[in-house]
């Protein structure tokens, strides 16, 4: 049945059936092939959503991120990033990356992140004399940071597939996110020195304090979320609900930028993205069940035991597959197809589940920006109205730097597992 599942999925996807429905069509074909009753579709889909209390965190983190981005948090994050890293050569490029990291700390998705930061940063950088393609490249390449730095929707889905603890993988996400961010900033600095890009204007001490105080309530949000989850004060789902309420309070009463007129858009964006992600998960539950019915994950694991590759060789292949998937698919989609098949194999080889999870998330997020067809490139091209070729040229050094960071993360498991071990989770 496995060849049928994947052939139908690939063909349907390439002729332009939406990815979720291509997956559904493949599942339907599989069900027909082994002659199961169609009612198993409902039997698998509804409980996948109804019984998975951890998945409820997904709409809530999307909601919280949207609230803060409508509440003017994007501008404030950029200001803060400016006073922290803006005084270096090419300060705005570093600030762009740093702001993406802060913003990744409150929102769960890369697209919310990119649009919030990019719409402000690209024009601002161009005004200061940066090349438009360079500004776009920096914005595009920093979008995976939003996926990697917790809270992360992709991580929640990984935990749902593999039954890993959400608290652990959130704790594991910070160091790799920081490493990737630093590598990108370094590359931005090198290019800026060579092109003699300006530094950001100097702020007086008083202005710096004002900016910091202004940003503080927003910065407290990740502290509240992660602190609450790690200390066990609340579950990830409850933390997400608390984040929504806190975000609403801060945006409405403290920043006073979130208005009633924003509410329809705010709700619509959240509902739409939830519908896309949650429905995909429900369909994937049927698909994954069929793969398990066919014993595919076990057969892959058995085959790998025969070959007996070292952990590093296995991970290299795994990352190559994920990069390829990530080019066409959103991180959640790629994860939902690859991880159920390869997770048991990775465990037999003796890879740490957290390390494996972080590699999965980082690689899939990177696939999104992989030239020449990564999805984020087209978003960047649409925002900046530049031809895709120019963006790719400016993006290439950054992409290589990110690839280097990814290899570091893969080669040294301690980067991912260090913090959870330290916190004794």
């Amino acid at each position: 049945m496995t060849p049928i599942l994947f052939t139908v999925f690939l063909v349907a996807m390439l002729v332009g059936v939406p990815v979720t429905f291509a997956l559904a069509l493949a599942a339907m074909a599989g069900i027909l092939y082994v002659d199961l009753p169609m009612v198993v579709i409902a039997q698998r889909m509804v409980p996948a959503i109804f019984d998975a209390s951890a998945l409820v965190a997904i709409p809530l983190f999307i909601f919280a991120g949207n609230i803060l981005s409508y509440g003017g948090m994007g501008d404030r994050m950029i200001n803060l990033a400016n006073i922290l890293v803006g005084r270096t050569r090419g300060g705005l490029s570093s600030a762009n990356i740093a702001a993406s990291m802060f913003f990744g700390g409150i929102s769960g998705s890369a697209t919310a992140d990119t649009s919030a930061i990019g719409s402000v940063m690209i024009p601002a950088m161009e005004k200061q004399g940066y090349d438009r393609a360079f500004a776009t490249a920096v914005t595009v390449i920093s979008s995976p940071l939003g996926t990697i730095i917790p809270p992360s929707i992709v991580m929640i889905v990984y935990c749902w597939v593999t039954e890993t603890s959400i608290a652990k993988i959130f704790a594991a996400g910070y160091a790799p996110g920081l490493l990737l961010g630093m590598t990108l900033m370094l590359m931005g600095w090198i290019i800026s020195v060579r092109n003699n890009y300006p530094t950001a204007p100097r702020y007086s001490w008083r202005e710096q304090c004002a900016i910091f105080v202004d940003t503080l309530p927003g910065l407290l949000m990740p502290v509240l979320i992660i602190g609450g989850i790690l200390t066990g004060a609340f579950t990830a789902t409850e933390a997400a609900a608390v984040a929504v309420v806190y975000g609403l309070l801060v945006s409405v009463f403290y920043y006073k930028e979130l208005k009633w007129s924003h509410m329809p858009d705010l709700f619509m964006e959240t509902i739409k993205l939830t519908g896309i992600v949650a429905f995909l998960i429900a369909v994937a539950a049927v698909f994954a069940w069929l793969m398990a019915y066919d014993r595919l994950p076990y057969r892959v694991a058995e085959a790998l035991v025969q070959i007996d590759p070292s952990a590093n060789v296995f991970l290299m292949f795994y990352m190559a597959i994920l990069l390829f998937l990530g080019v066409f698919l959103a991180p959640t989609e790629g994860l939902i197809i690859a991880v159920p098949i390869l997770y048991p194999a990775a465990m037999t080889i003796g890879i740490d589940p957290l390390h494996f999870g972080i590699i999965t998330v980082v690689t899939l997020a990177m696939g999104h920006v992989t030239p020449p067809v990564g999805l984020c490139l087209f978003v960047g091209a649409a925002v900046s109205k530049l031809p895709i070729g120019q963006i790719i040229k400016a993006l290439l050094p950054f992409y290589l730097a990110a690839l280097f960071a990814l290899l570091m993360i893969a080669a040294f498991p301690i980067i991912s597992t260090g913090i959870p071990k330290l916190l004794d989770l």
């Binding site: 939406p18 579709i41 509804v46 959240t270 509902i271």
Partner: protein
């Protein structure tokens, strides 16, 4: 008199008129209601546990029910606003008439699956009839009902889109993240 004329008259709108105008976005309103329920219930659950040191047993079921409905109605809303992700570089390479045909074909796949989803969900509704959740005694058929409703809405919105593209009222664009999302009116 349609809602457009009422707006031009600048007559003060009665509540009934406003409510009537909401009919085109009724599914969206329901989703917003479920989303709000999620937030409020979970927040109350945290507050009650810490302030009154009393763990709620029923809140999880409310949350799970709302999330299930939000998922399947949200999927329909995403279809309405062309939100689902498509790999469209092959379509974009082909000439317009081919694109139209492809939209119709892929759209019919979506409609077909949605109809199947509805029937499958309806069957599960009948099978699970009489079973109830442990804390609230909520009939499981209320949970499974989200699938036939969501599936029917997906089929309806998708069909409306195919029709509009076929009639030439809308450009033959597939689902995409990048493009402007204009709802079918």
């Amino acid at each position: 008199m349609n809602s457009e004329n009422i707006r031009k008259d600048r007559r003060p709108q009665s509540l009934a008129v406003k409510v009537w105008q909401l009919r085109t976005v009724i599914v969206e309103c329901l989703c917003a209601l479920f989303l709000s329920t999620l937030v409020v219930t979970l927040f109350v659950q945290v507050i009650v546990r810490y302030v009154f040191a009393y763990p709620l047993t029923w809140s999880q079921e409310i949350v799970a029910l709302s999330f299930t409905w939000l998922c399947f109605l949200g999927a329909a809303v995403a279809v309405k606003y062309r939100g689902h992700i498509v790999v469209d570089f092959l379509i974009n390479l082909s000439p317009i008439p081919v694109q139209k045909a492809v939209i119709a074909m892929t759209g019919l796949v979506v409609v077909g699956f949605a109809v199947l989803l509805s029937f499958s969900g309806y069957k599960m509704m009948l099978i699970s009839h009489g079973q109830a959740t442990p804390a609230l005694g909520l009939p499981l058929s209320y949970v499974y009902a989200s699938l036939p409703v969501g599936g029917a809405l997906i089929a309806y919105y998708e069909f409306r889109h195919i029709w509009a593209v076929w009639k030439g009222q809308k450009p033959p664009v597939a689902f995409s993240l990048v493009r402007e999302e204009v709802p079918d009116k």
